[in-house]
């Protein structure tokens, strides 16, 4: 059986407006950062147009940006999960059940991790644009 906390979290998280908003904002930031570094690359007076030699560093910069965003997002997504139950006055209901405190935490953690994985998967198209230009393999 899947952890019931995880099951519920995934259902409710993806149904709220927050999940698609977070996804969109995340992708917009990542895409505009990607666009910006590509534009800077094309500014080079000697090459004119896209310089494939710079592709690797563009990729690295973009990955760095992704890392930075995730580092910011993980605490935002995870820190409030248990206290959120308390605020919503649902924690007591959860504690009187047969669930162990450990499986409650594991369920919450897995739910947050899967949301992060979703963000990373959704950013693959942005990264693949660089492959179109070549220079990275």
């Amino acid at each position: 059986m899947i952890n019931p906390v995880l099951r519920r979290e995934l259902k409710t998280k993806l149904r709220s407006w927050k999940a698609p908003t977070l996804l969109s904002v995340y992708l917009v930031i990542l895409a505009s950062f990607g666009g910006l570094i590509m534009a800077i690359n094309e500014l080079d007076v000697y090459t004119r147009g896209f310089d494939p030699r710079g592709a690797l560093s563009i990729y690295a910069l973009l990955a760095g940006c992704q890392l930075g965003l995730i580092i910011l997002l993980v605490p935002a997504l995870t820190s409030g999960t248990i206290s959120g139950e308390r605020e919503r006055q649902t924690l007591d209901l959860l504690l009187v059940t047969k669930l162990s405190p450990f499986s409650i935490i594991i369920g919450k953690l897995m739910a947050s991790i899967s949301q992060i994985i979703l963000l990373i998967l959704a950013s693959i198209p942005i990264f693949s644009i660089i492959f179109v230009f070549g220079g990275v393999s």
Binding site: M1, P4, V5, R7, R8, K11, T12, R15, S16, R88, Q89, T90, D92, L93, L94, L95, V96, T97, K98, L99, S100
Partner: protein
């Protein structure tokens, strides 16, 4: 069987529960009555295993709740006085979630959930989101949720608080049904009359101590030695009063608008004699009845001023 032995819970200097002892037998509906801050919720939370007592014991079928909380979780259904629901979750999914937390296999869940929703009359709301339900419906849903693992003991902390009269009646209907199933129910309220017709035994708690214990009738008797009798006559009231003044066992006579109220301190035989005597004197009596003891008054009497001190 649930046994509470000398339970004490202190929050710093404040003593919420002060040496409370109780025995609740199987199949009983125990009404826990007391003003706000008397220690009802604290006691119930300790029984549910959410709080650990400062001292004392709670035994369920001889097993200590504080020593083995996990073992007893499946025997207890708990409904808190304040609770929240999750956003973006449908009624049947909500039930399914709590069924999952009790390790109920997927194959059994649908039947259990349908039955319980039927019991609390929410079948038609199965596909609605829980956060869109009304307060009364949420309350009933929470009751269904606390029954999902078929517990022997049900702890309901003010299940009717904040409900309108109609929702109260509906809640009462559900509880009556549970009574017939034979569950042991501990139900708390700060309104005594609300519990009077439902409970087999009532315990009145004040300042962390049991102030009165017994069936409703026993408690009433314990607290009102004198009966109030209402007498109505078609004839002259003055005449009735003069006759009454000659009778024994009458403590006091009050003249009301269209009736006479007397404080009577004799037993039932003496009361019958009283009526006989009045009729023999040719007074046309149209009503002779015992005034229902006002539970509210009794409650106020027992819990004098408790509220202002503790809140």
């Amino acid at each position: 069987m649930l046994e509470i032995q000398n339970l004490v819970k202190k929050y710093g200097k404040f003593t919420a529960v002060d040496g409370l002892s109780l025995t609740i037998n199987e199949g009983e509906i125990f009404g826990f009555v007391g003003p706000n801050g008397a220690g009802k919720t604290t006691t119930m939370k300790i029984i549910a295993g959410l709080l650990s007592p400062t001292s004392g014991k709670v035994l369920i079928n001889g097993v200590d709740v504080t020593a083995h909380p996990r073992k007893l979780r499946e025997k207890i259904g708990y409904m808190p006085d304040f609770f929240g629901v999750y956003d973006n979750l449908k009624v049947d999914e909500y039930m399914d979630f709590y069924a999952g937390t009790y390790n109920i296999p997927y194959s059994d869940r649908e039947a259990i959930i349908d039955n319980l929703l039927e019991l609390v009359d929410l079948s038609h709301k199965k596909d609605d989101y829980v956060d869109t339900l009304s307060r009364g419906m949420k309350q009933r849903l929470c009751l269904a949720r606390s029954l999902v693992h078929d517990p022997d003991i049900l702890i309901l902390d003010e299940p009717a608080s904040g409900l309108d009269p109609r929702a109260r009646v509906e809640m009462k209907e559900v509880l009556k049904q549970l009574k017939t199933i034979g569950k042991t129910i501990i139900i708390s309220s700060h309104i005594l009359p609300e519990l009077a017709e439902l409970c087999t035994v009532i315990g009145i708690i004040d300042k962390g101590k049991i102030a009165a214990y017994g069936t409703v009738a026993q408690i009433m008797k314990q607290l009102t030695q004198k009966r109030m009798i209402k007498i109505k006559t078609m004839g002259n009231m003055e005449e009735l009063i003069t006759v009454l003044k000659e009778q024994p066992n009458i403590h006091d006579i009050f003249e009301k608008m269209d009736e006479v109220e007397i404080e009577f301190d004799g037993d039932e035989h003496q009361l019958a004699n009283l009526l006989k005597n009045i009729i023999q004197r040719d007074i046309p009596i149209i009503s002779f009845s015992e005034k229902e003891g006002n539970l509210e008054d009794i409650f106020m009497q027992i819990t004098q001023g408790g509220e202002s001190q503790n809140d």
